[in-house]
Symmetry: C2
Subunit: 382 residues, 2 copies
């Protein structure tokens, strides 16, 4: 058996485990059997992931389930729509799926979102297994039970909470990711390091580059540990606030800025993790500007982002030459997390000390945005 | 203050009360204020219900909420579709609804289903209040948190569980119901009497006709008590099995037959409660045929159904002259509750002794169906 670690997600009767390891897909019989034995499995995936990875999982399903079907959904964010959700649910009904069947999401964030939503709604909820195939989804979206689709009013406005029965994080699948996508996923790991504390963040500074090296000949201990830490941190926060009514908001560290950045360039022009990295730097800079933390923390964060190839500030994002601070500011005011016109920021008093502040003066945000967007700062960076 | 009774629904942190009384709509400030104070309310209703009842609730919302909007959905079962759900959710987004807003369903089962589904999905769940305006929805669909839409594969196949924060059962609204619809709703009350036990069923035999008399000059104690009993019985069952994984199945007493009847005639040709009444008689007859209960129970049930103007057997359903037992049998095999080809029936060992049996021989079902469908039996009834 290859190396694997287990992260318990403690949600009472909805508790489950995230298993992280190498070559998990072909060695998942013991994990899947208690969930799928004697039942039909419906694998929701896209054509790229099917071609790359399904052949490793299929023999296990053939062995432990009473049969399985594969349902393809279209590639990309546009699949997160009402129309595609309806197509998927009707397809599952066509195939004779019933309330005892198990839905398995094999893919990245889009597949997990659409399949998780379908699992939540099919006959009011069927068992669901997440097999995320991107670093981003392994450490973030596959853990915690959130799913959603987009509307013309914005992203992820319509969805549910529906916890999986298990999450299989096979780091071997990450070898086939484009380098840029792998690095972007690491942006969420940096976020969890900042939330978690000094020991973890120092570990990332020391081992992050090695985790992303993906040497196929060497064991993947650093990568497994980085993924484990992300899942554990998210799991602890989710366990404390499953339905996002308070404490779970700290998961949005960097995301108020990131969503504004993504809205400005149009979704798809940047990878989410790249916007998150620039957003983390902006959130740290805002924290320092308001006197909550030392400037040294901001510099240290930028250094680590740069060391792994992530953008150290908004201006370093390649998509747009001239960022407009006022436009970003306007997007924040329309964020769905905004209640009663007050924009909520997750700020840092230090590494491991995130907190939510919805009393940040607009002027301070604009000043920080102007600095983060300035090409002068970007060009003169270390 | 007019007479009102409160039925607690015990679901841990999702607990709520069903309030039953006269003229509740105009006297609901104390019930609604803890839920809607300082928040915007979005009333989902249809044009008929709005014209009849909204003027009584509107002053209360104006007083206790920070504002309210009315959103109309089309009349009838066809509204329970993906397309209409999407239209409703986009309309709510257009109107600026946010995660702190409250959605209030004012109407019958269709309104409650679509509004409840929208409340479950809007930003992954907003607070929701049920104000059901039919007897059927007051005693059944508004309690327990189930919602759903239909697909081309059948009714209620896609939905969620999303408990309301409160249910307001104003019996005064029932005065405006067509007589046939009021009586049909009583079919579910008979079901709850059979589930509950001898004391309650005897009470219904004695007071059911008075409850349905709707004398506007007299207090509505009998009707309030009948509604209260239905809500309490359903609430107890839901509390024991919120997500329908076992015991909640007894709520389906009569419904395996009822769904087959409705499928055969096409939904809309009969009122659901009429099919339920005929289904209850068939379930009792099947129980007697299998030796689980006395024939006297079947006769007693038919007598009570007849006394309130409900069909005493399938043949008494007015829509179709010649019922085909084999066709009904075939519909049952496709019921969504069917798992692995075994049709589950809720049977009776006596009043108050329902149980689920998925080992009923097909021949016994066919024999009972033949008897229940026979016009000879119907024409020679007492």
């Amino acid at each position: 058996m290859t190396e694997r670690v287990r992260v318990p997600i403690d949600l009472g009767e909805r508790s489950y485990e995230v298993v992280v390891g190498e070559r998990l897909l072909e060695h998942s019989a013991d994990i899947l059997s208690p969930i799928v034995a004697g039942r039909r499995v419906f694998v929701v995936t896209d054509e790229v992931v099917r071609a790359r990875h399904l052949h490793r999982l299929a023999p296990v399903l053939g062995e432990v389930a009473s049969g399985y079907e594969t349902v393809l959904i279209p590639l990309g964010e546009r699949t997160k729509s009402f129309a595609q959700l309806e197509v998927l649910l009707n397809r599952l009904l066509d195939l004779g799926m019933d309330r005892r069947s198990v839905l398995l999401a094999l893919g990245g964030g889009v597949v997990g979102d659409v399949a998780g939503f379908a699992a939540a709604l099919f006959m009011r909820g069927v068992d669901f297994v997440q097999v995320p195939t991107t670093l981003m989804s392994q450490v973030d979206s596959a853990v915690g039970g959130k799913n959603a689709i987009n509307t013309r009013h914005g992203k992820n406005l319509i969805g549910t909470f529906h916890q999986p029965r298990a999450v299989l994080n096979d780091v071997t699948v990450l070898h086939s990711l484009p380098r840029r996508e792998l690095v972007a996923g690491y942006g969420e790991i940096v976020k969890y390091g900042l939330i978690r504390g000094e020991r973890v963040f120092s570990w990332l500074e020391q081992h992050g580059p090695a985790a992303l090296a993906l040497d196929e000949q060497a064991p993947q201990q650093a990568l497994i540990e980085a993924v484990r830490m992300g899942c554990e941190t998210k799991g602890d926060i989710v366990a404390a606030d499953e339905r996002d009514q308070g404490r779970r908001a700290i998961i949005n560290l960097g995301h108020t800025f990131a969503h504004a950045i993504e809205t400005e360039v149009g979704y798809g022009a940047l990878l989410h993790g790249e916007a998150v990295a620039a957003g983390l730097a902006a959130a740290a800079a805002l924290s320092a500007k308001l006197g909550y933390c030392e400037t040294a923390l901001v510099e240290r964060l930028r250094r680590h982002l740069g060391a792994v190839g992530l953008p150290e500030r908004i201006a370093a994002l390649a998509t747009q030459r001239n960022w407009d601070p006022a436009a970003l500011m306007a997007h924040m005011a329309h964020d769905k997390k905004t209640v009663g016109g007050r924009v909520a920021f997750v700020l840092l008093r230090g590494v491991g000390e995130p907190f939510v502040d919805n009393t940040v003066p607009e002027a301070a945000v604009l000043t920080v945005l102007a600095e983060e967007c300035s090409r002068h700062n970007a060009d003169t960076r270390r």
